[in-house]
Symmetry: C2
Subunit: 200 residues, 2 copies
């Protein structure tokens, strides 16, 4: 599954661009930062993270699409979040605090990622104030996404949940299978079809 990073120098531009949206780094600094990441390719349906397992990495998506989900005590699947190109995803409680994963993350299509261990993340944050700044800002954003997911779950109207979904994941609306969108919204496929229709 692991591939040589050199193959993917082009793709590393996606990470460099994201870093440079927040901080000023030279090419030499970026190459040093990048050397702390590893590259992985996953096929559709493969797992980045499986419930109950140790979580080594945070994943930066270069391509593809994944979903994180939780299986409740009666075996029902609940989708927490999706991630697409240039999003970060992992089970953060397990990643930060060396616990086993509570959620699963699997691929909705073939997916390429850059992996960053928590050890390397802390090392880079110690070495570069700017990298610490970058990760603080990204974590702020994730906080907002999580708060919005909570607000979406608490909304009593399917229409409002659908509108929040379109706002959070504009590029996913047409791309994802309808049954996955329905599971994320907690509605039936019939209800979802009505929401997709115009003038609703």
């Amino acid at each position: 599954m692991m591939k040589d990073l050199n193959v993917n120098l082009d793709m590393s531009k996606i990470l460099r661009e994201q870093l440079r949206n927040y901080i000023d780094i030279t090419d030499v600094e970026f190459d040093y930062i990048l050397s702390h990441f590893s590259f992985k390719k996953f096929k559709k349906h493969q797992f980045l993270i499986q419930e109950g397992q140790f979580v080594l990495n945070d994943y930066f998506l270069l391509s593809g699409c994944v979903k994180s989900y939780y299986t409740d005590e009666i075996g029902k699947i609940h989708i927490l979040l999706f991630a697409i190109q240039d999003w970060w995803i992992t089970d953060y409680e397990a990643y930060y605090y060396h616990k086993n994963a509570k959620v699963n993350i699997d691929c909705l299509e073939d997916t390429e990622v850059l992996c960053l261990s928590n050890e390397n993340r802390e090392k880079l944050c110690r070495e570069f104030h700017q990298v610490e700044h970058f990760f603080r800002k990204k974590t702020n954003r994730r906080n907002v996404a999580l708060q919005n997911r909570i607000l979406s779950l608490l909304s009593s109207s399917a229409k409002e949940r659908y509108e929040k979904f379109v706002q959070d994941y504009p590029s996913l609306v047409q791309k994802l299978p309808k049954h996955i969108v329905a599971a994320y919204l907690g509605v039936t496929r019939e209800t979802l079809s009505r929401l997709y229709a115009p003038n609703n």
Copy 2:
């Protein structure tokens, strides 16, 4: 509502202690950091944040207890989170990105807080790598709390939601009015009474 910080030097120890759990700072540095906060006292039922309003501050609780809640489109109240002594709380989307608040935060009892504006937070993070580290780590923790709140909302069993609540807020279980706990868990007061009973 605003009081002189000098009155509360004793209380500022709570903040210093929290900072020192993460970073090494001298007393002089702490005093400088503290000078960027203001002190406020709120009475029970007063609001730290009201839906639709501009959000200036993040709040560090010195004493008391607050709840953040969301009112859905049919007027039903949903409790997102509580905060107690040494917790931070605000509407982070509004705070970070200069938007109007989507949630309300009000006091379940008389509450004293230290307020930090986003401008001062960014200033301190620029000036001290260590303060940036502190806020990254605290934001990581908030992420985990939010993820756990999502998992709690997705749990189909009231018992499991109750157990997560006890785990997240051990000191609140006996302190909060039962109807507030029931609203947080999304159960009736009767169901809650059964959950409180032993051997359940």
